[in-house]
Subunit: 461 residues, 2 copies
């Protein structure tokens, strides 16, 4: 600890390049540390969990994340994208499994762009190793209990001992239940919202086996209107499946609570995949139910020299596969802003106040995508819209992109993608309301009308 | 404390008539205690502040509240309405003061119904005295630090001592910074939002004097678009004025910070009332700036036997004069529900889940009314809308009521009033968009068109 005190004492230059303290050695905390260390700043990380390389106990089953362009762009900046992709499995689209056991493939992109399934644990390990290569001290088993904004001091506990550490600039990358945010919450003027879905989730393992006949390079979905099962591939040929189900009511985690009810539920709704799942009944009955929360905060910066980042500032529901990607993009944009501005303090404040608009937008898009995934992907109207979409992509490749592409395969600000989503929704509603289009799609008249309506929303300049 | 333990032990009948513990001896906490004691339940109240009858120190300057039909209906139920009105001053409408010093009176109701200005301190004292008459123990200087939901136990501090008390049923009527709610907030599944206005407020005293030429039975407003001053009468002929101003930016509490700037600000914007205010400059420079927050929670009931009420559950901004009225109405509706249902626990759960819709609605109405008060009351378009409104009130007395009346002079559910507000907004927009109406209001054609549009929105059955 003595060295750190010296560093803080020496630098004493908070407006240009302060020493950095980061709470959280998860995905965003590690990436932020590496970015800032690379800029030449002193960085120290505190993490409440035990080092995953020492204690396997806290690891549990790997959870899969969908890594896409925004996340990759942030990793590329520190030369980690190719290394990380070696651990990932490409997914080309959604494989929809109907109740009857039929499948229907929906590509993510008309020219074959893909997203990547990667285990959270593997990604975190790679980032921790990189942080180590950059000589960033990561203090595991150090939980932050309180932040004293006036004295620039955090209270930490480690092995039952309680002590204080000073900070020059403090980042809270400590997740949806952030300690930094909890200290901010009690202050007047701090806007905060936590909204839970009335859905929970449980994860299941589908091992590589003779029964397992699932295609590898896709994201599997069993949409059942009120609930859904998904499965993402792992690079060992196994899959991690996640069941999203209501917490209460009919067909819920509360109502299904005996072995026979679980068997009946899976047999009725997921007949094809049920035999592939390892110990489905036991896992359902014994594993903890995860919850899903949307967190919105404003401002992210408090008392000039503390800032929330990642889930601590903007946790979202997982249905657009953008939680990690948004957090990584926040790190990239923040550090790019620092590279082109002199004042560290004001640059981060300006960055945060603007970035909030975009993280609020992806929160909305992610919540809406749950409805699409569990319901619309198996819906006639949705499939017809997809048909029109395909035609537009083919005929107006320069002017038209799907919202999914804008979110997933671009780095356009999320707020722009949300605006596009609203505009396209109106356009497709108008197209599908015309009988000429909906009743006679194969005709030239239908295509002419689609073109007219398209130009109304996307005028030639 | 021994007696209370005995009571809890004896009753042991939580589903019908549990012993009640209330946090907070403010307006809602006292009223709730009286209602429940009147029903025959054991009631104990803990209040973190000192007894206002002993310590004048915590009282400060009286803050005025606007008491109206919903609050009065709740007070009438325990026979307190007439007694309380003796301490109040009736207000018939808004007296709008222009920048030039002209005035313009807008009655609250076309048949002369009024609202009442009352001091919070006087009202609280009356309720405390009544609680005493009902033999409700009120423990002052007892702050709740934590709620242990599993063991039905609260941690209290009193004079430096920390101790635990058991509860059968616990209400949190402990205000916008509720200790009960803070214990709920850390739990998954508890939805919560705190949103601060970027406005603050400061209060001023206008003594009864020769300079004070303000009319008594009105609410005075000096609307200045981005900010406003209001003044409510006290029953000694003095007034309490409140300045609502941005916290930062041009014309804000931050930007006006010297004696000369305060003088210049008041001289420029509130020339007529400035000389009437007691020590305006000192008060502005030295008094604390109040903040305004909207708090929304869902659910209000946690672990079956704890429930938030009043500002703890649904704090709103003060611009519709409905904060206290909404809290009082919640108490009345809750106890009416208890009187017609047997199960205490489930009745409160059902009440709360339905009441939330209405408190969310008044939160929206209150936020919108700030814009009306500081801006529209002095706006040509708003005044024209008022003209049409008057004509409708005169010609369709059975079918049409103003939104203000529905909120203030009725006990219609707030959600219904909000729906009316949205419908009327559309109707007035349509009326004012017609040149026949806007350019030639005095003509018969204008009235005919108004009638046609009115029936479109309010059809004859």
């Amino acid at each position: 600890m003595v060295d750190r005190e010296k560093v803080i004492g020496k630098m004493n230059n908070t407006s240009v390049s302060p020493a950095i303290t980061i709470l959280g050695a998860g995905l965003v905390g590690c990436l932020l540390g590496i970015y800032l260390k690379k800029r030449g700043q002193a960085v120290t990380i505190y993490e409440k969990r035990t080092d995953p390389r020492i204690s396997k106990a806290t690891q549990g089953r790997s959870i899969n994340l969908a890594l896409s362009d925004r996340g990759l762009a942030a990793l590329a900046h520190i030369g980690l994208d190719q290394e990380i992709l070696r651990h990932a499995v490409a997914m080309n689209g959604r494989m929809v499994h109907t109740l009857e056991g039929n499948t229907n493939f929906q590509p993510y992109h008309h020219e074959g762009k893909t997203i990547y399934s990667i285990s959270r644990a593997a990604l975190n390990l790679l980032l921790l190793q990189t942080a180590e290569q950059y000589d960033i001290p990561v203090h595991f088993d150090h939980a932050c209990k309180q932040v004293d904004f006036k004295n620039n001091q955090i209270t930490l506990t480690n092995q039952g001992k309680v002590f204080q550490e000073k900070y020059e600039y403090l980042f809270g990358a400590d997740g949806a239940y952030s300690a930094l945010r909890q200290s901010m919450q009690d202050h007047q003027g701090f806007n905060f919202s936590q909204q839970y879905l009335d859905y929970g989730y449980k994860e299941f393992h589908i091992p590589k086996s003779n029964e397992n006949t699932l295609d590898l390079n896709v994201l599997h979905i069993w949409p059942r209107h009120d609930f859904m099962l998904i499965a993402l591939p792992n690079n060992d040929g196994s899959y991690t499946a996640t069941l999203f189900l209501r917490l209460k009511g009919k067909n819920s985690f509360e109502s299904i609570n005996s072995r026979s009810e679980v068997t009946q539920f899976f047999t009725q709704f997921f007949k094809d995949v049920y035999p592939m799942i390892e110990n489905a009944d036991d896992t359902f009955l014994q594993s903890a139910t995860g919850s899903m929360v949307t967190i919105q905060t404003n401002p992210w910066v408090w008392h000039e020299n503390t800032c929330l980042l990642g889930d601590a500032a903007h946790a979202i529901v997982p249905f657009y596969g953008q939680g990690m990607n948004a957090g990584f993009e926040s790190v990239r944009l923040l550090c790019e802003a620092l590279d082109t501005n002199n004042n560290f303090i004001t640059t981060i404040k300006d960055f945060a106040s603007h970035r909030i608009l975009n993280t609020n937008a992806i929160a909305t898009l992610a919540a809406n995508n749950f409805i699409e995934m569990r319901d619309l992907v198996a819906n006639e109207r949705f499939l017809f819209r997809k048909k029109i979409e395909s035609w537009l992509l083919q005929h107006f490749p320069a002017q038209f992109q799907t919202v999914y592409s804008l979110v997933t395969f671009s780095t356009m600000p999320y707020a722009g993608a949300l605006k596009q989503a609203e505009k396209q929704q109106k356009m497709f509603d108008e197209m599908m309301a015309e009988e000429q289009i909906s009743k006679n799609w194969e005709s030239d008249e239908a295509k002419n009308r689609v073109e007219v309506i398209f130009y109304k929303y996307f005028p030639k300049d």
